[in-house]
């Protein structure tokens, strides 16, 4: 492979929500930055596959980074979403006790939350719980009004797009294979797409952050994959809950317990499970876990029916705590103590999403202490997202169609996504062209028919308006082709 001499002040390995947040944060300063992402698009590791909750910060031991950064992130999240033009809703959360002993746990969480400076926490009784959540079974609850929901994939994409606008270079399908420290103390990063050199490397490789750290230093970190499976319910079931519904967390497990998340798009997520697995990329769902999720759902929300399930998916937590121990270790955000200018982000699991921007700020601080960064006066914090036709009022819809008839053609019937939005999704600044990339940006294929109507139409748009060959049409990069060829020999030139 030809060596490309790409030098950047900072190379960020890993384009998840944290990597992209760091890229954006750094682009506020006069530095050259590159993000190397091994997948076809940003956020395909952990960032797109969680519940999308911006936690308030009461779940974490006081004094830890998880507690501090979560609370800090939660308080500034609305502003961040406004700047990035991504949806945000402060929907609130109830942690529901079903047994008397659990109320003690609720009180502990409240105390911890207050110590962490979380606002508005209240213990509510069954009458108040019934008023807030008529369909939930419980005897008491901890109510957290500051907990919010977002779309984790829209956020990650928006962070990346804004960083791109502000001068950051993104290299997708680019995987770091080895890293060498050069005599001038720069790094040389060898990837499948050539070499990069940089003064700083930021290791935000999520599930593979241990592997990347090991490229420069002794085997210090170990990431254990812990999978969580989810169900997604049809929007028709969204009336069942009004807030995030969580059980009282059990100590020593890998997660916060199976919870019920109303998403920003009005689906309901049930999950996640938590199960330590062997492979870091095993995103399979299993029938045992799905049965367990159904049983948990029945415990809290008997009105939920399996008929409402439209799909399931899984995400994998990057845990530092080994399977024998479970539970959580604190975030690692630090410069390596054996390799200068190599900054490690290890074990960023929940509340990584809420903490993304504060984590990014901490990383900038680390670099600033060494470099005295100067501000980029051209930095523009604002980014415009794809306008959702379905959300507009009638007058606006009419005006949009008049201005651009592609707004009048509905491609995804279930989610009412127009051709214009699909065109914009395909034409995204990062150049991602897989069906999943289009799905995340436009919401097409996320409805109850799961692409039954729109898939053919989207493929025609990819071919006719973007000139993709049949072979190039893929689901999620990496050999995920859709077609083996044309049906007819006449045209069969692949």
């Amino acid at each position: 492979m030809k060596t490309t001499n790409n030098h950047y002040d900072v190379v960020i390995i890993g384009g998840g929500v944290v990597g992209c947040a760091i890229a954006r944060e750094l682009s506020k300063y006069k530095t050259s930055i590159a993000v190397l992402e091994k997948e076809d698009d940003v956020g395909w590791g952990i960032s797109c596959r969680n519940s999308g909750v911006v936690h308030a910060g009461f779940n974490y031991k006081s004094g830890t980074l998880r507690a501090q950064l979560c609370v800090e992130g939660n308080k500034s999240f609305a502003k961040l979403c406004h700047e990035l033009d991504v949806p945000y809703k402060k929907i609130g959360k109830v942690i529901v006790a079903q047994k008397k002993e659990e109320i003690r746990e609720l009180k502990k969480l409240k105390t911890q939350g207050e110590k962490n400076k979380v606002g508005g926490l209240q213990i509510i009784d069954s009458a108040e719980l019934k008023r807030l959540e008529p369909n939930v079974k419980g005897i008491a609850a901890l109510y957290s009004p500051e907990t919010a929901i977002i779309s984790p994939y829209l956020l990650t994409i928006a962070l990346a797009e804004n960083a791109l606008t502000n001068g950051v270079s993104f290299f997708l399908n680019t995987e770091a294979k080895s890293i060498a420290k050069l005599r001038n103390s720069d790094f040389r990063i060898n990837t499948n797409k050539g070499e990069f050199t940089s003064s700083y490397v930021i290791n935000s490789a999520g599930l593979y952050s241990d592997k990347v750290a090991h490229m420069v230093e002794k085997d210090k970190y170990r990431i254990y994959p812990c999978r969580g499976e989810y169900y997604v319910l049809d929007k028709n079931a969204s009336w069942i809950i009004n807030h995030l519904i969580y059980p009282v967390p059990k100590a020593g497990t890998g997660g916060l317990g199976v919870h019920f998340t109303p998403t920003i798009d009005k689906n309901i997520l049930i999950g996640p499970s938590n199960e330590y697995i062997k492979q870091k990329d095993n995103l399979s769902t299993t029938s045992q876990i799905m049965k367990m999720l159904s049983a948990e759902a029945q415990k809290f929300l008997p009105l939920i029916s399996s008929r409402d399930i439209i799909r399931s998916y899984s995400g994998i937590r990057a845990k530092q705590a080994p399977p024998s121990e479970g539970g959580y270790w604190d975030f690692v955000i630090e410069e390596s103590n054996s390799v200068n200018n190599f900054i490690n982000l290890i074990g960023i699991e929940s509340p990584g999403l809420a903490s993304a921007q504060p984590i990014a700020k901490r990383v900038v601080e680390i670099i600033n202490k060494k470099e005295k960064l100067s501000l980029n006066s051209n930095f523009n914090p604002f980014r415009k997202g794809i306008l959702r036709f379905e959300e507009q009022d009638e007058e606006t819809k009419k005006a949009l169609i008049k201005q651009d008839p592609d707004y009048g053609e509905i491609i995804c019937r279930c989610e009412q996504v127009t051709k214009k939005e699909i065109l914009e999704a395909i034409n995204n600044p990062l150049g991602a062209k897989s069906l999943i990339s289009i799905k995340y940006r436009s919401r097409a294929m996320m409805g109850r028919c799961q692409g039954g109507y729109c898939l053919t139409r989207i493929i025609e748009i990819l071919r006719n308006e973007f000139g993709l060959t049949l072979q190039e049409i893929n689901l999620k990069g990496d050999n995920s082709y859709l077609f083996s060829g044309y049906r007819s020999d006449e045209v069969n030139k692949l």
Binding site: R487, S488, D489, E490, V491, N492
Partner: protein, 122 residues
């Protein structure tokens, strides 16, 4: 030899049992009408099927024109005819019943169009 056939001629789907040796039929039971009996006889001696498939169309409002054999053809030729359709191409407009190909495989097998395709201006 004994075999039970499901007659395909109409939705009644009569189950007809046959005893036969080679192409020599000894006994037929369960046929709901004379057509069914003939059908089973044919299934043993010379099974016939209508072939349906598609051919490419140039400049049409559909990329493909669906086609069929106007009469049932020997079952053994179905896959081969399928392969042949992959090499055929027509120009729009296409009318239903229009001849697409004739005497395929030298066996008097024709293909006619079954979808109306209009010309589009590109």
């Amino acid at each position: 030899m004994h075999r039970e056939f499901i007659c395909i001629l109409c939705p009644n789907s009569c189950r007809i049992s046959v005893e036969y040796e080679g192409t020599n039929i000894k006994n037929i039971k369960g046929d709901g009408c004379p057509k069914g009996k003939d059908y089973v006889k044919n299934e043993i001696t010379n099974p016939l099927r209508v072939f349906t498939g598609s051919v490419l169309v140039e400049s049409g409002n559909f990329s493909l024109a669906s086609v069929k054999t106007p009469v049932p053809i020997p079952k053994k030729y179905l896959k081969e005819i399928g392969e042949i359709t992959h090499c055929l191409k027509m120009k729009a407009p296409i009318k239903i019943g229009q001849v697409v190909a004739q005497n395929l495989l030298g066996e008097d097998i024709d293909l006619i169009a079954t979808r109306k395709v209009n010309i589009i201006n590109k």
